[in-house]
């Protein structure tokens, strides 16, 4: 087998060799599968063995009691019971195969730039199917409808629904519905009807095919497939409008397909269709689609509501979302409603609320799981398509197949052009000819059609195999021919591509601004248009729904602020990940600092220097201490707990973010008061961004603020706690050291505090730590200074004790300086010495 593999893999460049190797590994795995299948096909042997052994034992037991233990077989130290694990094992093998293939294709960038991944996967599926067949085994019915509709499809659709770009989707909903409903109907009847006509022509040997099966076939084949569209469109990076048009159509035409399918299936047995049935069909369509959306929305709201209360069990948060969505799908399928629409609705409804409720980590988990599942499902589906092609019984009829392919193409083109002609009369942004072409050409068919065809009853539809063959051919044609050529065509036609740039804050501001502006203009014109209703809905959402579904205060947060916070948060994370603990980039990493844009506000009243400025080396040292402290607290792990993750100060819940921010603002006020009291000029009260930016642009800024000379604070901060002799000692030591040391300590505290605060605005957890360590540092600084001046304050141990004491004795100050977050206590316990 391996020889074949080597022959298969084209030799030459290194990457191809690599690929060959990978294929080899793969096929070894496959051999495993085949063998297992072999074993599986003869399960009776092992079963017999079992029963035989059992009988024997039974006989032995009944015949002579005494020798029972002796006649027993030796205890099997190692036994092989493959049958026991067969199903999960084979599933795992398939998944492994899919993942390895996905991995393999990404190692060969050149290949995947020419051929879409979906095509490659189908080819792999064909190979695998061929191998299984060569091994003389029965090819398993991999694309069995239950497996497909209940396991493989939901993850892909949920992923699509959850990440559905709501805005363009809603803006183009009319066009999408037009394509999805009218377009699909047109396709179904056009293809079905003309196929029937062709079948009636003498000499095609197809005269036994009746009208209804033809229409049924037409309705199966006419629906654009979301899986195929996603797979191909993701690679060509088409602009948002076209993407949402084709993709939205593929999602929403499910209801039409379901209804047509059931309708024709029902009546192809019974024969006649009366006008009454048509009316019923229309009603059924409404129920199927709207019912599906309703079911999905209900589950979505439930999920959002549940997530309101999960703040104490963060670990299972993501699970709720998945389970609710799956339930939505299953519930919809139970009533033969459109499961796809239910999933889409569920994902889209729950997203904004759930995102506000669950922790940042959980959200990342949700995103990753969705992507992981959907990509594995997608891979499996394409591989299975290949396998099923090899497996299935085929009835090839040239006429039928070629007519199908041609009719599909023709009807799609006519449908799109005709519908666009109507739609363009209503659209503000018209669809150009290029757009129409891409929409028509992007109508790929896929595995849903195949599975629906597979569902057909053999007895009712004697031509089922022929249908299946035609469906597979059509899928192959669209996926291979159209899928492979669409990319060059997009380039050739210079269709506008997607802009990859991430959204900037200016764009967000202006998007919001535009929304309000347009709503306002519509109101002035007196038209109740699109924007007007959107605004109404938004306000309703904000006023009532968000209040119910979002925990805490976050529901009040306007979108712009949320966006801003998200941006800040992202940067904070990036900052932490990049390892920089001290240099704080402003909200926008740039060469330009806040000073440049700030209107000429004069610096604070100038006073001469009271404190020695730090040398560069000293600063470095401080940074080092800060950093190591940071790392230390980070590395300290809590004991293992199954229900919570080890708390990581850097990724404290996103939900706490706002609360902390508010606290920080209060703190800032308090701080300015306090610094007034200490007569150390605090930072100029500015917006947080401004401060951060200034700090970023000039880390020395804080050290440069000069304190007035007699303003050097004697530390009369009412520390308010009972003063132990030790602390008095400390104070004495400090005062012995003179104004400088003390002042320095305070100063440092102030800057540390300032630093922490500014940091806090970006990454709360970080800020907190920094604030605390900053304070610790300032004390430590005092000690250092003593040493510098040769005072040799005390042995290290004592110093530490004193500092602990210091930490204990001014909890009020500590509270003020560092954000009193939940994890504060253990920091206080910790010695701040590195």
């Amino acid at each position: 087998m391996s020889v074949r593999v080597v022959l298969h893999s084209p030799s030459g460049s290194r990457s191809f060799l690599e690929r060959g190797l990978l294929l080899l590994v793969m096929l070894i795995f496959l051999e495993g599968t085949v063998l297992t299948l072999g074993a599986a096909s003869s399960p009776d042997i092992s079963a017999q063995d079992n029963t035989g052994g059992h009988d024997h034992r039974g006989i032995a037991g009944s015949h002579d009691h005494t020798n029972y233990t002796y006649t027993k077989k030796a205890f099997p130290v190692l036994s092989l019971d493959y049958h026991h694990i067969q199903v999960p094992f084979e599933i795992s093998l398939w998944v492994l195969l899919a993942s390895l293939m996905k991995l393999g294709f990404h190692l060969i960038p050149r290949l995947s730039s020419i051929v879409p991944e979906s095509c490659l996967l189908i080819v792999v599926g064909l190979l695998v199917g061929g191998l299984i067949k060569l091994a003389g085994e029965e090819v398993p019915p991999v694309l069995d409808s239950n497996l497909f509709f209940l396991c493989l499809l939901p993850p892909i659709i949920l992923d699509a629904g959850y990440f559905l770009p709501i805005r363009p989707f809603m803006e183009n909903i009319g066009t999408i519905l037009m394509f999805a409903v009218v377009g699909t109907l047109w396709n179904a009847f056009f293809v079905g009807g003309l196929l029937y006509a062709v079948c009636q022509i003498e000499g095609t040997y197809l005269s036994q095919v009746e009208l209804l099966p033809c229409l049924l076939f037409g309705s199966i084949i006419s629906a654009v497939d979301p899986v195929a569209v996603l797979a191909v469109f993701e690679e060509i990076h088409i602009n948002e409008l076209l993407h949402i048009l084709v993709f939205g159509e593929s999602l929403l035409n499910d209801a039409v397909t379901v209804v047509l399918y059931h309708l024709f299936e029902e009546y192809s047995g019974a024969g006649e269709v009366t006008p009454m049935d048509v009316v019923l069909g229309v009603i059924c369509f409404l129920i199927v689609s709207l019912g599906g959306i309703a079911v999905g929305a209900i589950y979505g709201i439930l999920a959002a509501f549940t997530s309101r209360f999960t703040s104490h069990t963060r670990v299972i948060e993501p699970l709720f979302m998945f389970v609710y969505s799956y339930m939505a799908y299953l519930s919809a399928e139970m009533f033969h409603l459109s499961g796809i629409m239910a999933l889409i609705a569920c994902g889209a409804v729950m997203r904004p609320y759930v995102e506000a409720n669950i922790s940042h980590k959980s959200h990342t988990t949700v995103k990753y799981f969705l992507k992981m599942w959907s990509s594995v499902s997608e891979t499996l589906i394409f591989i299975f398509l290949g396998v099923a092609t090899v497996a299935g019984p085929h009835a090839w009829n040239w006429t039928f197949v070629s007519v199908t392919v041609i009719l599909c193409l023709v009807s799609r083109v006519i449908g799109v052009v005709g519908l666009t002609f109507i739609i363009n009369k209503f659209r503000i942004v018209k669809l150009t000819t290029k757009d129409q072409f891409i929409v028509a050409y992007g109508g790929l068919r896929g595995a849903i059609a195949f599975s629906l065809g597979y569902l057909l009853d053999k007895d009712l539809f004697p031509m089922r195999t022929m249908f299946l063959t035609a469906i597979i051919t059509e899928i192959f044609f669209t996926v291979f021919v159209q899928g492979m050529t669409i990319k060059p065509l997009v380039d050739l036609l210079a269709v506008k591509k997607k802009q990859e740039a991430k959204r900037s804050i200016n764009e967000e501001i202006h998007t919001q601004f535009l929304d309000h502006l347009l709503t306002g203009i519509e109101d002035i014109c007196g038209h109740y248009g699109h924007h007007h209703w959107k605004d109404k809905l938004n306000r309703f959402n904000k006023k009532y729904i968000k209040k119910c579904l979002i925990a805490g205060e976050r529901y009040k947060e306007p979108q712009l602020i949320a966006f801003y916070h998200k941006m800040e948060f992202k940067q904070a994370i990036e900052l932490v990940e990049s390892g920089g603990g001290v240099k704080l980039p402003s909200a926008v990493p740039s060469q330009v600092s806040m000073q440049n844009i700030q209107p000429k506000k004069l610096p604070p009243p100038v006073a001469e220097r009271a404190l020695p400025q730090f040398t560069k080396g000293r600063e470095e040292e401080i940074r080092k201490i800060l950093r190591s402290n940071l790392q230390k607290t980070r590395q300290r792990l809590r004991s293992y707990n199954r229900h919570t993750l080890v708390a990581d100060p850097f990724e404290d819940g996103w939900n706490d973010f706002l609360l902390k921010k508010q606290r920080l603002i209060e703190l800032e006020k308090k701080m300015t008061e306090m610094s007034n009291y200490l007569t150390v000029p605090g930072a100029i009260p500015d917006s947080p961004t401004m401060c951060r930016a200034r700090l970023a642009s000039d880390p020395n800024a804080f050290y440069n603020i000069k304190a007035s000379s007699d303003g050097v604070p004697t530390i009369q901060v009412d520390l308010a706690s009972p003063q132990s002799p030790d602390s008095v000692n400390m104070l004495n030591e400090f005062s012995k050291e003179g104004h400088t040391g003390q002042g320095l300590g305070q100063r440092e505290g102030a800057t540390g505090k300032g630093l922490g605060q500014r940091e806090g605005a970006t990454g709360q957890g970080l800020g907190q730590r920094e604030g605390a360590t900053g304070l610790g540092l300032c004390q430590r600084e005092g000690a250092d200074r003593d040493e510098d001046q040769g005072l040799m304050m005390k042995p290290a141990g004592k110093g530490e004790k004193g500092e602990e004491e210091g930490g204990n004795k001014n909890p009020g100050l500590m509270r003020c300086l560092s954000d009193p977050g939940p994890s504060n206590e253990d920091e206080e316990d910790e010695p701040f010495l590195p």
């Binding site: 942004v429 900037s504 919001q512 306002g520 007196g526 909200a587």
Partner: protein, 216 residues
């Protein structure tokens, strides 16, 4: 087409239609609305717009209303504000929101784009000095967030600062600490919003049907 019958005189409408690109029906409807808002006067005042109930919840209401009384938006190279506007001026302001035609050349597209952005820019640049200063920008964001209570004020400042910093870094590249970025000029404004397809977004649908009696 009930609106058509109430047209005062055709030639005047033809003139307006050429000037603004609206169809006769649309002009008729807008005229009716204008009369409704101005209580059958020939001119429209700020108060007339201020009393539109639907507009009362709009956070940027004052800016929208100001835009109607801003001479810069009348295509006449004027400056400053006026106290009342005639129907023609009303139409000209409205015409900034007209959807573009189906087939445009690149140049036409660019012209429309600039016009629409200029309108936005003028809304921000209240003192008409050609730049949006930090103060002005802060004001814009504050207005945007004015419906969100006390929380908004502080954050608005931060957001405006961050946005301004972004503009400065995009348009200026590197700046020395002692340099000063005056504000967003129109060129920079074009640059930062180049990814927003303003020509396809800053449009509303001007109906050919009369719906004014439905509205408050």
């Amino acid at each position: 087409m009930g609106a058509l019958q109430s047209l005062p005189d055709e030639p005047e409408y033809r003139d307006l239609s050429e000037k603004t690109g609206f169809s006769f029906e649309q002009i008729g409807i807008l005229h009716k609305r204008f009369k409704q808002l101005s209580h059958n006067e020939d001119t429209l005042r700020r108060d007339d717009l201020n009393t539109i109930p639907d507009l009362s919840c709009n956070p940027i209401r004052t800016q929208i209303i100001e835009a109607f009384f801003d001479k810069r938006n009348f295509h006449q190279n004027g400056e400053g504000t006026v106290q009342e506007i005639s129907f023609e001026e009303f139409l000209v302001v409205m015409s900034h929101f007209r959807p573009p035609a189906l087939d445009m050349t690149e140049e036409q597209r660019e012209i429309i784009r600039r016009e629409k952005l200029r309108f936005l820019f003028n809304m921000h640049d209240t003192d008409n000095d050609g730049t949006i200063t930090l103060e002005e920008y802060r004001h814009v964001v504050e207005e945007l967030l004015s419906r969100s209570g006390a929380l908004g004020k502080e954050t608005a400042k931060g957001i405006a600062d961050a946005a301004m910093l972004e503009v400065a870094s995009i348009s200026m590249g590197h700046m020395e600490p002692d340099e000063f970025y005056e504000g967003i000029t129109f060129e920079h404004f074009l640059k930062i919003l180049k990814d927003i397809e303003i020509e396809t977004r800053m449009n509303i649908r001007f109906l050919n049907m009369d719906t004014t009696n439905l509205c408050k």
